[in-house]
């Protein structure tokens, strides 16, 4: 009866022997318990394979009363774990049943005392239920290491929520990774910024910067330039960005930029590396219809911010400058494209009344005020 029932569920003969031999209880007692347990867990959507895995991982579950199991699950539900989370915890960490409800409660409260929200804790424990049992003082030491290093509590919580393996990780690994970043040239605050944004770098390979940017180094970027780029835009270290770097640089070459140009513009505006090739090409090709290619490239080099502006923003300005018959050389001197159109229109209106020197349209605000003694707010209100 015992063997047939278990074979029916899907146990192999060897597995049946494990179950039979783990305790001194008779087969009939074990069978009775297994049937009750099986029925209970089946009602909670645990399939046969999962059931087998649970009982083989932690055979003592077979001796637990169903009421006791329900109590443990209820403890989790009271905290905020939904039914699915609780059952998943049981599937992935059957040892939870060896932990008393009081201990579960105490452990969850300890995470709250550290500053984790209930949602964080549910996420962490659902993925790493063994944290309910491990040495909490060791977890706290790692947490405190980050705070002492200079991470804000908010970022520390975010890091540990995203990478809860850090709780269990040897602290020397984290220290070594931080030292690796330091040896490359990042300051402590850079390291905090970068790893707060991309926490899994703390557990990554020590040559990550060079690995991820080997193409850029071959392309011609110097280490120092790369460090500055990463400091300005650490998100480039994320897989989704660095994997496409090759294509993006080739796209810029295809458009007509030289390698030196590309190194210059990206050093000035690393955000270029977040824009897709289509985004950049479409804008470039549309502008090609109204601006000569050499002039357009010159414009982008003079003004790397241009890569980010929406096409409409650029076109509106160019169309207005053409309308007021501004010399093309002013448009190519791309800094003029930085100025907000609203301000340029207001200044043009003002200058057309007071002064014919339209070269002064693009003076920085304080220079314009100094020359004409009129502030931007007055210009925009037309109050002159």
């Amino acid at each position: 009866m015992f063997d047939e029932y278990l074979l029916d569920i899907g146990y192999t003969k060897e597995q049946i022997n494990v179950i039979r031999n783990f305790s001194n209880y008779s087969s009939s007692t074990l069978l009775y318990n297994i049937k009750n347990l099986y029925n209970f867990l089946k009602q909670n959507n645990i399939n046969n394979n999962e059931f087998i895995n649970i009982t083989l991982t932690n055979p003592s579950i077979i001796l637990e009363s169903i009421d006791n199991i329900k109590l443990k699950l209820y403890e989790l539900n009271t905290f905020g774990f939904n039914k699915l989370n609780s059952i998943n915890i049981l599937k992935t960490y059957p040892y939870i049943l060896d932990i008393s409800t009081e201990r579960i409660r105490t452990r969850l409260n300890k995470f709250i005392d550290l500053g984790f929200s209930k949602d964080n804790i549910i996420y962490i424990i659902s993925n790493n239920a063994y944290l309910l049992r491990g040495d909490f003082s060791s977890y706290k030491r790692k947490f405190d290491f980050f705070i002492d290093y200079g991470y804000s509590k908010k970022n520390t919580i975010k890091i540990f929520t995203n990478i809860s393996e850090l709780f269990d990780c040897n602290i020397t690994i984290i220290k070594n990774r931080i030292n690796d970043f330091k040896s490359i040239g990042f300051s402590s605050s850079d390291i905090i910024n970068i790893t707060s944004l991309i926490p899994n770098l703390l557990l990554s390979n020590s040559n990550i910067i060079h690995d991820r940017f080997s193409y850029l180094i071959e392309f011609g970027f110097k280490d120092k330039e790369l460090i500055q780029i990463i400091k300005k835009l650490p998100i480039l270290l994320k897989n989704s960005y660095f994997e496409t770097l090759n294509n993006k640089l080739n796209n810029l070459i295809k458009l007509g930029f030289s390698k030196d140009n590309i190194i210059y513009i990206i050093s000035n505006n690393p955000y270029i590396l977040i824009y897709s090739e289509d985004n950049i090409s479409n804008k470039f090709n549309t502008l090609l219809e109204i601006i000569d290619k050499d002039d357009l490239i010159k414009m982008y080099i003079n003004f790397p911010l241009l890569f980010g502006y929406s096409l409409n923003n650029i076109l509106d300005k160019i169309n207005y400058y053409n309308k007021i018959k501004l010399d093309t050389s002013y448009i190519i001197n791309s800094k003029v494209l930085v100025f907000p159109l609203e301000l340029i229109k207001a200044r043009y209106f003002y200058l057309s009344k007071k002064d014919n020197n339209y070269n002064n349209l693009f003076l920085e605000d304080y220079k314009f005020y100094k020359k004409y003694k009129i502030k931007t707010t007055e210009l925009l209100e037309g109050d002159f």
Partner: protein, 127 residues
């Protein structure tokens, strides 16, 4: 995404945003509406907001409280036309209020007057 569509972004523009910042797909409409409201409250026009988002798609997923703090710091330091500043330099929204103050003080120590510092930040990618 509905928030962005209702605001006037085309599907193509939303794809551009998501290409640059994959986290946009995780953001709620409520969060999108909050950042749009914050920018509108600072007199940013629809076109300016669109330019800000396209240029700097991280604005959409940045913490709104941090963005509001930054804008308040800009006002405290003497920036009067936040809409014009953000039209010129959308990337400024990625720095913290503390970083802005640090930058401001650094330029002050270099001998720049307040109006010169404001212009420096307005018309240069200081990030």
């Amino acid at each position: 995404m509905d928030g962005l569509i209702r605001f006037g972004f085309t599907i193509e523009e939303i794809n551009i945003l998501m290409d640059s910042n994959e986290d946009i797909s995780l953001i709620s409409d409520n969060s999108v509406n909050e950042i749009i409201k914050l920018l509108k409250d600072n007199n940013c026009s629809i076109n300016t907001i669109k330019n800000i988002f396209i240029c700097n798609p991280f604005v959409i997923t940045n913490n709104i409280i941090d963005t509001a703090k930054l804008i308040n710091k800009l006002k405290e330091l003497g920036f009067t036309n936040i809409n014009l500043l953000l039209d010129s330099n959308p990337y400024i929204l990625n720095i913290s209020d503390k970083e802005l103050e640090k930058l401001y003080n650094k330029k002050k120590d270099e001998g720049l007057k307040s109006s010169e510092i404001i212009d420096f930040i307005s018309y240069n990618n200081v990030i």
